[in-house]
Symmetry: C4
Subunit: 479 residues, 4 copies
């Protein structure tokens, strides 16, 4: 019965009745790059242009990362007419020219401001200057606005106050006539997951991420996922903290509007390779925007082979746009050095009846983790009542075909003229030629992972999962 | 002393001083059917008409279920005058004709909208279109409006904001002149149990129910019954979760306005027969609306014999309209597979001085549960000071006379012309001929259950209660 | 140093700078009687008049209980001009005549309404009718208004909303020119302890009391004294629950405005004599209004000897108006049958440098409880830095001189003409002739209790305290 | 990478982009004296003048304490034009003359009012009188306003309400043209740490401090650092309570606006010498204002040698203005007599690449505490990714050069004419001649502490720390 409901619901989402955020953008979670996590205020014209070039040369643009987003610290006060001035010491050609260059690379350009009197780094903010600033962004050719929350002058504390404050800029950018993806960054205050989709393409739901997998930090003091209030969302939230916070409302993301778990830390040095894989996999499966946060000018081969995994990105860009949900959380696992020890199982439905499952070991020791079909298809009918429980399923490991690091290194070292052959030899997934939606329709092998087993009707999925690691599978029914 | 208070209070409720919700509806909790739990967006004219016929043929209409409520997904945008269009592909005769057909069956017709820019399934919502939509409902002949909470544009967060938003539709439907039962569905946000009765006939007090008896789910993350705030009320709330949440304010229901625990899951496949009996019994005793949520076209005999138990429905429709209250909760019981294990005792006063008691075993093993008269009559005088503690009580099991499944199957299989005799042979309770109020006055045997014992003054009620089950008794004083 | 601060602070309160609530009433906590706890809606003219007479004949008026407060259920709708009609079936002489009779007995008359569309028992409420209703109260000769919170139409949720709603009536009653004590009853919602003193003479700080000493009840679900929010303040709050809730802000009471812990349950039958003594003692020491809540027409001798203890009432009516504060709470005491087990020590300064100490045993077994002078004078200098720690103190038991029950019974049984002699023989404290302030100045023996020991400098106060009981002492310095 | 971010961020703060609070004051945390903690309402002209003289003679003015702040209880109502009258009995020369005298000593003058109808001691408050009162302060020559929160008439409960209420006075004092440091004192209500910096130079973040190191008290009932709500911030908050509350948002302080942890208790008698050292060290390292709260007229030598330690004050006045952050909290330490037992490690970056580390033992027994460089430099790169982890560090004990008590006593006993020589012999740090910024640039030995060891790359800092004590170190890289 509930299964019927499930498909009926999905149907409704795509029969043209949907009228929500109507700028047409972010029908799947946006992908791109943002400088903040690695570089903070150290921004410049050359950074943006070098990064844009690297996005093309590394193949990352073609795999889907098409937004280049400049974060805080780019302005130089306001002119006499109240318009923001771009800092010409940092951007000598001017922001408009920078945008042009980025567009020439086949990329889109994002910028940043704050719904406050100042930005977080204390540059001029857009609060009460929204119309002016939206015009500037439109004139410069901006395609994306990240809109932060610092120095808000006390204008929060009820959903209505925050909604109204952020809606002013939404109306302003729509008023310019230029489509801009609107990335709301109020750290989840005032239940933004309940109203973000009415005025934004994504909404942050926690304090800032930092480059640690599980370490609790006092500056990200709020950990109670059931409470909407927090004395300070913070700036040192671990990957695990963010995953745990979003669990109660993963269902709020939908085509056009997404829970934003913050930018990626992959490649920044604070996590192991297994941890970065887990971080990236969850961001994809939870339908967060995928904004790389490392310095691409010094991109390593190992980072590249995480960020370019098309089988995982296909989960992010699945056209159904449904997040995984947590179906089990065990807190009695072996503790790591920070006293953290959790085992979790996540599951979610994909386009065409497939299912994605993640077995997470955020504990101090390796563990064998099992999930029954009853659990995996819980959301299609609890207590074993889902019809999928009676089917047989093929299991595909989504990381088994990860690119060899040596090949990635070759690409990173290659001359421009050698890249086309290298990409071809690598069987590179180019989403600008074959969208993920089309690739999934055609069951393109690069998006499917590698078959590693089968689950019989009524059976279970079981895997040994290393400490601080996860395994991620696509399940396909064979009836 | 407190006993005096108790009767005085009841008296006050019925001396004509009461001036609250004045549409005259829902003097006892409404009963009927709603498609969402079983069928979601899969709605159609034939569904409503087939279901209406089944309500009559199964005898369920006569036992009291008289509202046929169409949930989300029925509209097709707005016309040029801003009025909602019914989806003529799903309802070819038009909604007005559908209403007529339902009325012809002796049933009442309910519809759905949301106090947001969209409904939960992303159809057009009624926020800021209330007057128009109320007119449409009145013109179509609607008798009941379920009014949801999705996409509310940030207009919540203080009771006043939510109250004001929901009051607009209350005023609008009253303005049409057509009586409509107003079923407020804001999931308990903003303390709706403290103001719902001023503008609605019932108010939801939790996230959506799902078809599980005890399983905690991350999508119903809020379990602290003492906290008014919740990051996301959720959509996967178990029967036990809902019972536990309503416990602090069961006294808010009253003739004309009721705590709504959400629609029933009886018959949807995720619970055992004992669990469904418990689910149904609590909804009746807690004075929740009783909206069946299964697909009546495939109604099973076992489900029918739960839903048609007049001795339990008589608790729901008791004219005093007082909910049971929890008088004991033990958390140290044997855990079930989800780690849940609770024993609870609930008690409440009924019309004419009777008392209803439920012994709930929501634990992993069978248990012997006892409740003393001191506990049972706690609300008439704590610490044994209630006069009822000194009386002798007959104990009636309200499930002992449950209809035989074979008889129910016969009814379900019968031709229309054979039904009258079958109902007669079954001694069917027809509330359209003898209201529950009159039946209770006359102590109609079908409403009384079966006598199974006696409690001496100062004594206790004791029963063996199976795991994930309950026992429900009516106590009658013999002085 | 801090001791200096302490005395300086007290000084400031009485140097004429204080400008707060300026109706001049309740300079010490109000005393009187209210019908609700014992009789609820069962109100009548004869009840009020009989009770008034009993107040005089029992000597309770003279000991200080001078307000006769009629609670809910007295009205009969509004007339065509929007004025409340008194129910002439219940009050055949009309409310004005009733007030006159009460005044003739040397008593003051209190009435009740609610800042909502209805009162709690669903009679007409005063919300949006404040000016009219204040006029009626003034015309009838009312001296006291208890103003409740039911059916508030969602107008709460921020302190400003509640403050503004209650201020309307404050302004209205002041506008009549008749002094009325304003007793705000919003159950502590919206931090009323932070603003109540600006517009009221007392403010309730919890849900309704019920007649139990320690039993937790689901209908008083909120127990976290540090949280300002509660899903439902409730109506079944035990004495211990209320004591624990007020602990963080006992310092908010002050001459003119008091934390109201709700009406007394003494004499209603749900507690033991020791529990009622503890209940009464805490209400006095915490500077709550002392409104008797029993049916005085059937007043028992044991209840009378609790309610008429002048040594305890002198704590309540101490002119300094400072509440005791909790200086120790031990949670690991033996549990009672409800699983509750606490030991607490409370201490507070009195007029003239005396100190009151309560040793509370709210546990399942008798206990020896000690409190050092360092603890007792903690608020005059933590960690032993208070000068009082170096003084010697006489210890007076405030219950040692409790009236003999046989004498009390004689008074209750006496003919009117025999009362003067009886009162004289009993050495009755008549506060209408000698105010508590003057009595304390003169160190009247009846207010001092009985000397039971001495504490040496640096020493401790120790007592054996029975389960569910307390000991209460006045300490007097001998330098 | 994160290290790059760190330095970039610091850079941004000082490139002239910052536009926040623009009165130019409190670029480092303010220092001075306030009478409340020791003397409460016992204020007078002679107190202020005697204290001013003592500030000069004790050398404390020159070490940095330059504000003399008069707290509550100084007024005598309003005149017929609505202006506050200074109490001429307490201040016979009038407030303007007092200010002149204070200025003549090279000191600045602070006063007090409350954003309520009354001050906390029930003198006339400034709510709705802001413009008048700001004019009075300006006319009197006031340089600093402490602005309290009592009797706010319900105008709080959302950040906007509190912000707006406090902004009125901010605008008023700025409107006078006289620069006044604005010290906001709303006890941390309504998330003042998120908006205080837009309208104030400092903002209190907790209830009032009291003179105890760890003792929990019911009157400071709120201890959950992650919750923004509290039923009553309270007046008995221990040093440890305050430290623990500020931990989640230590990063909110910045040049021009600071988290205010309340006035110092050093010298008031409730703590040991070690506890006062710890209290003072944390206030300095957390960048709280440093307002002495003792009676300087009876200043002891031991107190003086805490308050005049230039090596610790240099942490407070570090020009980078970055607070330490907590990097470890262990709750399983030996309990003290109040049941409290915690070990904490705090670390923060200083001007010029130095680092300050505090090892806190708030437990019942002495303990050996270690912190690795990985932990110490966590905020420059988690999980050992900070470059500082690979450097060698010299360790300087900031209390090793504490002045000898005998010398301090000599200064306190000296005649005025002998002071210059004494100060010279003592190598007294005179910040009016050499600012801390310049002193730090020059690595003045008095600001550096005493070298006590070295940490090798990848190594750890370890110390034996006595119970209720701390050790505080400055680390200097040797590359």
């Amino acid at each position: 019965m509930a299964a019927t409901l499930h498909f009926a619901f999905v149907l409704a989402l795509f029969t043209g009745q949907a009228i929500g955020v109507n700028n047409g953008l972010a029908r799947t979670p946006q992908m791109g790059w943002n400088n903040w996590n690695a570089l903070g205020c150290d921004v410049s014209e050359s950074l943006l242009l070098d990064t844009s070039k690297k996005l093309v040369d590394s193949g990352l643009r073609d795999v889907g990362y098409n937004y280049v987003v400049l974060d805080d610290c780019w302005s130089d006060g306001r002119d006499e007419n109240g318009f923001l001035k771009d800092d010409l010491k940092k951007f000598p050609s001017g922001m408009s020219a920078v945008a042009d260059e980025i567009h020439k690379e086949g990329l889109l350009f994002g910028m940043y401001s704050s719904a406050g009197e100042m930005t977080c780094a204390r540059y001029a903010g857009s609060l009460d200057w929204e119309a002016n600033d939206a015009k500037s962004f439109a004139n410069w050719g901006v395609d994306y606005l990240k809109y932060d929350n610092c120095y808000h002058m006390g204008r929060f504390g009820t959903p209505k106050l925050s909604f109204d404050r952020y809606k002013v800029m939404w109306d302003a950018i729509n008023g310019t006539g230029r489509p801009m993806l609107y990335s709301l960054c109020n750290w989840g205050e005032d239940y933004s997951h309940t109203w973000g989709m009415s005025i934004a393409n994504s909404w942050r739901m926690s304090g800032d991420i930092y480059d640690s997998f599980t370490r609790p930090d006092d500056l990200c003091s709020c950990t109670d996922a059931s409470s909407p209030f927090c004395v300070a969302p913070g700036s040192h939230c671990s990957v695990l903290n963010i995953i745990n916070k979003v669990a109660p409302y993963v269902d709020r993301g939908q085509p056009g509007g997404w829970n934003d778990l913050d930018m990626l830390e992959v490649g920044n040095g604070g996590m192991t390779d297994e941890e970065y894989k887990a971080h990236f996999s969850f961001w994809a499966a939870l339908k967060s925007p995928l904004l790389m946060g490392n310095d691409l000018r010094t991109l390593s081969a190992s980072s590249l082979t995480i960020l370019n995994n098309p089988a995982v990105i296909a989960i992010s860009q699945d056209p159904d746009g449904r997040s995984v949900a947590r179906i089990r959380r065990e807190m009695n696992a072996a503790k790591d050095k920070y006293g953290v020890g959790e085992i979790q199982v996540w599951s979610g439905s994909l386009y065409g009846g497939d299912q994605v499952v993640i077995l997470l070991n955020a504990a101090g020791e390796d563990a064998r983790i099992s999930a029954s079909l009853e659990e995996i298809f819980l959301h299609d009918g609890p207590e074993g009542s889902a019809p999928q429980n009676n089917e047989e399923w093929e299991v595909y490991d989504l990381w088994a075909n990860r690119m060899e690091e040596s090949l990635a290194q070759k690409i990173l070292d290659a001359k421009a003229e050698d890249l086309p052959k290298l990409f071809k030899d690598a069987n590179w997934y180019n989403s600008t030629e074959l969208s993920y939606k089309e690739g999934l329709k055609k069951k393109d092998a690069r998006l499917m992972g590698k078959k590693v087993g089968t689950i019989k009707p009524g059976g279970s999925l079981t895997a040994k999962v290393k400490r601080h690691s996860m395994e991620m599978y696509r399940l396909k029914s064979v009836g």
